[in-house]
Amino acid sequence: MYIVRRLLATIPVWFAILTMVFMMRPLVPGDPVKIMFFGRSSSQEAIEAMRKDLGLDQSLPRQYFTYVSGVLQGDLGTSITTRRPVLDEIIDRYPATLKLALGSLLVSAIVGLIAGILSAVYKGSAADTFAMIFSLVGLSMPAFWFGLLMIYFFAVRLGWFSVIPDGSLKSLVMPAVTLGLIASSVIARLVRSAMLEVLGQDYIRTARAKGLRERRVLIRHALGNALLPIVTILGLQFGGLLSGAFIIEAVFAWHGIGELGVNAFSKRDFPLIQGIVLVIATNYMLVNLLVDILYAWLDPRVKLA
């Protein structure tokens, strides 16, 4: 019942997203068609034809109805720069983004969990200090700069990787590690604080008093109970990564949704921008939904709330 309720709740949220995405165009300052044509030789006839093509010659309610009915039928419009359906452009790029999202989530989860657990278990030690300095650096370092450093050292200086990705697992390493290490900073801090809180609980003391092995106490009893906030942050990070890491994808020439978005913004390709924003928002919504369902599975009390 809880899951059905949550599923039903997403419908109005999604329509609100759809409405906001549609409103991007009328709310953007300036004439979108003139902005699109800026810097290109164009006649007034061409501008009017484009306006008609985009349906901008219609009233706003009519445009909204056309847009919504199009989206419901899988028609997100046509890219102005490539003249291909927006949905095709996004579908072409989605596998690359999914690959990068999974790769970096794996890196961030492994590094974040290990650093967070070690930091909590050996609180106040050199390992704890190192892990927290590492996470502070990760939190404060701009992703753009870190990515360029990675390229400079590992591709230009050492020649271990190619700057241009070729779709292989090897070419995934640099962007996934860059994104994963940055994301792991948040996870490490969260795991540390959650573990410290749990490790002070009576049931942990009881588990140890029963003579359970420390690894079992940490993994099963402590981490299991500290998992809820970690699942939330992992879910949100995955949602963000699935939406395309705009800066990292552009830096690593990773041809995913993020890079597509950067190019669409720079070329003022409004239909493509709208399509990308809609997909990103839908991603977030679905990942949030999954996290909520996962929450209910991990903690049965949630269903009663």
Binding site: P29, G30, I35, D92, Y152, V156, A250, V251, H255, R268
Partner: protein, 333 residues
């Protein structure tokens, strides 16, 4: 021949063995020497440069900031199109004080184009006085030297005085209708050189007695301001391959509705309707002279299109219309 196309990602062209090349400006009149040309699309300039440095790519469009560094790499050539079809300029709206020709001339005289090219563009551009790009058929340095504007702050002050803009209270700012003139010089975001350029212009304008603020906004926000005449003056860059750039810019109502000049319209119509090339250039010159005499814009420079080319790549060049020619390219081991 088109071999592969991944939208926004990569294009692969394969050699067409039966190709016959009739272009006079290419040495190779047959099929391309190379078997394939791969265009990898790398949107981030720093990554593009890194890909070149690592040897992943043979040729890149090189960002101005990286030209000096890459040219120091052994064997690397920087090949520039110095006679391109772009023009960077300051344009004026028709609101006060910009509707005063002396005010516009004062601004035009107060711009140090050489410093802009040297500092903002790191020497990778050519200062111009003409209101058309340096690669345009109508470009004429002598004509524009006669009617154009060179950096001269004294002349700028004289023009302000001639226009009735004086500093009566001695606070260093000239006045209009008894109030200190305060203006904003606009540019649009996404181009560092433009922001550097307006930052270089600002102190000279302040030196002649104008209180100048500089602002950069997204073009989407700038465009309606241009059309409403709210900007006053702004940095603009156009690329256009024909002398009709003049009518694109100035024919009533002008590209953002800020121009209305029947005398200029007549000159532009003659230029646009003349078929004989030499006569057309002459007609364009008449329009250019009018534009300069009325300081409708203040031309700044034509910036260079430039590529970095690895040592083993030979025969690469730009053509007269700013296209990269690859048909003469061959590779050495």
């Amino acid at each position: 021949m088109l071999k592969e196309w991944q939208s926004g990602t990569r294009i692969v062209l394969a050699r067409f063995p039966d190709y016959v090349n009739y272009r006079q400006d290419d040495a190779n009149k047959g099929a391309a020497y190379v078997d394939e040309v791969v265009f990898d699309i790398i949107s981030e300039p720093a990554t593009r440069t890194a890909a070149f440095e690592s040897g992943d790519v043979d040729i890149i469009g090189v960002p101005t900031a990286d030209v000096a560094r890459l040219s120091e790499m052994p064997g690397v050539s920087i090949i520039a199109q110095e006679n391109g079809h772009n023009i960077n300029f300051i344009e004026f709206s028709n609101v006060a004080p910009f509707d005063n020709v002396h005010f516009r001339k004062a601004v035009a005289y107060a711009i140090d184009r050489d410093s802009i090219v040297e500092i903002a563009y790191m020497g990778r551009g050519t200062p111009i006085q003409c209101p058309v790009p340096i690669g345009d058929a109508a470009y004429d340095a002598d004509l524009c030297a006669q009617y154009g504007y060179t950096y001269d702050l004294d002349k700028a002050r004289e023009e302000l005085a001639a226009g009735g803009f004086t500093d009566s209270d001695g606070n260093g700012i000239v006045e209009m209708n008894g109030e200190d003139i305060s203006v904003t010089l606009w540019s649009y975001s996404g181009f560092d050189v433009q922001q550097k350029t307006i930052a270089l212009i600002q102190p000279d304008l302040q030196d002649i007695g104008l209180n100048v603020e500089i602002r950069t906004v997204d073009f989407g926000a700038l465009q309606p301001m241009l059309e409403a005449g709210e900007t006053g003056f702004d940095y603009m860059r156009w690329t256009f391959y024909d002398q009709s750039i003049l009518s694109q810019l100035f024919l009533t109502p002008g590209w953002v509705g800020q121009t209305s000049d029947p005398a200029l319209d007549e000159l532009l119509k003659v230029a646009d309707s003349t078929v004989d090339p030499a006569a057309r250039v002459q007609a364009s010159h008449a329009a250019m002279q009018y534009v300069l005499e009325n300081a409708l814009i203040a031309p700044l420079l034509t910036d260079w299109f430039q590529s970095a080319v690895q040592e083993h790549v030979h025969g690469y060049r730009w053509d007269a219309l700013d296209n990269e020619r690859l048909i003469d390219v061959w590779l050495s081991k």
